[in-house]
């Protein structure tokens, strides 16, 4: 394929802007609020930011998982956070809100709607994540052994060390930097300034992963408003545009993948056009510290790129929302003028199995 054809293939047909973003406090355990109560202030804030109501949007898409909460069809109940009368076209992905955002973006590309609300929520605290996340694995060969998410990530980290692509010191440095950056993020759950030498005295949870390389267990929610056409200009003086968007997946067979690389991220980055211009900021959804190394390589980011100024998923990892938050955080950097062009990434599945890449640009 010629370069021009490749460019045309990934051309965004209709500019869509991130008009507003909001997220809850991210906390270890919120047992004072149900999902609707968690979402209501977030949805209220995402509308109030730009002075609109639900009557100004045309479509709602959410991302969540009933497995976390232990309540069937919890996503239907969650709609009460927005209000369901009069009826409105609505959809749900049993995925991180970043994929709900993708679905809404595709619908906006079709041109039949001009505005959409995307939200996601994850309460990780009620259940046992080690067992719940084992259930996302292959049900014949993997899940019956109950490999927990830390163990599976540790296999990837070991492979990375063996390949000479990273060391335990590198992982600790990523964790140290991320949680130090999180000190300036009022929504962060884990924020502190602890040097690498101290972190390396942590015990192994599953070697080679020490406690500091793991994401926190987080309850949280997030919401975003997307706008196209006149509404994009109406709701913002300086819109943040989505200029590239793609997601790809790899085989569910852990032993059939090279765990030290992320071809699905690289493919999504290519289609989204990450390399078409300089990147100032990257918000990467790397729940385990070592995964930042893999993503940085797959996205082709050099050392000049600021990575996860929010602290990333190591500072707060509300499952099903942490990916959407990456996109919201990247958009915020552009809206504030700190960055002109940013890339945001979301992941799903074990060891970065599925990856979404979103390129954002200001004007």
């Amino acid at each position: 394929m010629s370069a021009a054809a490749a460019k045309a293939k990934r051309a965004v047909r209709r500019p869509v802007s991130i008009a507003s973003f909001a997220q809850s406090e991210n906390v270890r355990r919120d047992d004072q609020h149900n999902e609707v109560e968690m979402l209501m202030p977030v949805v209220a804030e995402v509308f109030a930011n730009i002075g609109i109501t639900k009557n100004d949007i045309d479509f709602i898409c959410s991302g969540s998982s009933d497995y976390l909460i232990g309540g069937p069809f919890s996503f239907v109940t969650a709609l009460d956070a927005v209000g369901v009368w009069p009826p409105m076209p609505e959809s749900h992905t049993e995925m991180d809100g970043a994929w709900a955002l993708y679905e809404a973006w595709v619908l906006l590309q079709e041109g039949e709607i001009d505005a959409a609300l995307v939200y996601s929520f994850g309460r990780s605290s009620p259940g046992n994540l080690n067992e719940i996340l084992a259930l996302q694995l292959d049900p014949y060969y993997l899940a019956p052994l109950w490999p927990d998410p830390v163990s599976v990530a540790a296999l990837q980290a070991r492979a990375l060390i063996d390949a000479g692509k990273g060391s335990e010191e590198d992982f600790a440095a990523i964790a140290s930097r991320s949680r130090k950056d999180a000190l300036s993020n009022p929504k962060a759950q884990v924020a502190h300034d602890i040097p690498v030498e101290t972190l390396l005295r942590d015990e192994y949870v599953v070697s080679p992963l020490r406690r500091h390389t793991l994401p926190p267990i987080t309850d949280g929610a997030a919401a975003m408003v997307l706008a196209a056409g006149d509404k994009a200009r109406e709701w913002s003086d300086k819109p943040v545009w989505i200029t590239g968007f793609d997601h790809r997946i790899e085989t569910h067979s852990l032993g059939g993948r090279d765990l030290t690389s992320s071809p699905s991220t690289a493919k999504a980055a290519d289609v989204a056009g990450v390399a078409d211009g300089p990147i100032d900021v990257a918000e990467l959804h790397a729940p385990f510290a070592h995964q930042e190394i893999i993503l940085k390589e797959a996205l082709g980011l050099d050392d000049g790129v600021t990575i996860n100024p929010s602290g990333g998923a190591l500072a707060a990892n509300p499952i099903m929302s942490a990916g959407l938050i990456r996109i919201g955080e990247a958009a915020a950097r552009i809206a504030s003028g700190q960055a002109a062009r940013a890339v945001a990434h979301a992941t799903s599945g074990p060891c970065l199995q599925q990856n979404l890449v979103c390129v954002l640009e200001g004007e």
Binding site: A159, S207, G255, G256
Partner: protein
């Protein structure tokens, strides 16, 4: 409501279902029951273990079943000092991605080694099945892999 008054109760949600494992996964699981390890030939002639009905790289149908193992090589591993209740072994063990002899992909299982200094990438291990009468055609029919030349 003050935080101390939040009520807590345990709640179990289950989605019970049974699965048909089909001609390829079914053959592998039946093989385990019989104490054999099977792979399947993929589109490019590579041998995929554990086997799938399609080649994950191309999506093409896979071909004939071939016997692999019983030995193999550790491609990556992770030491679990404190096993969780549902883990396959109750004592400290290693998860490992094991490329069985004759296979081109690796399979996840556990290695029963004495400590983290007794397992390494590149080590040879061999399968240790449960007694024939205890095998039911499931991954747990393999009790563990053990270091080659070591004691089971």
């Amino acid at each position: 409501m003050p935080e101390s008054e939040a009520l807590h109760a345990s709640h179990v949600l289950e989605y019970p279902y049974s699965r048909s494992v089909g001609p390829v996964i079914g053959a592998f699981l039946t093989g385990l029951r019989d104490g054999r390890l099977l792979g399947v030939r993929g589109a490019g002639g590579s041998v995929i273990v554990p086997p799938t009905e399609y080649d994950p790289a191309t999506g093409d149908d896979t071909g004939e079943l071939v016997e692999v193992g019983p030995g193999g090589v550790v491609e990556s591993w992770a030491w679990v000092p404190n096993p969780l209740p549902k883990h396959p072994l109750a004592r400290p063990f290693a998860w490992a991605l094991i490329r069985l002899d004759g296979a081109d992909t690796a399979m996840l299982h556990v290695v029963d080694a004495g400590g983290p200094d007794q397992v390494a990438t590149g080590d040879r291990v061999t399968v240790h099945f449960r007694p024939a009468g205890d095998r039911i055609g499931a991954m747990a029919d393999i009790e563990a892999f053990v270091p080659e030349g070591g004691t089971a």
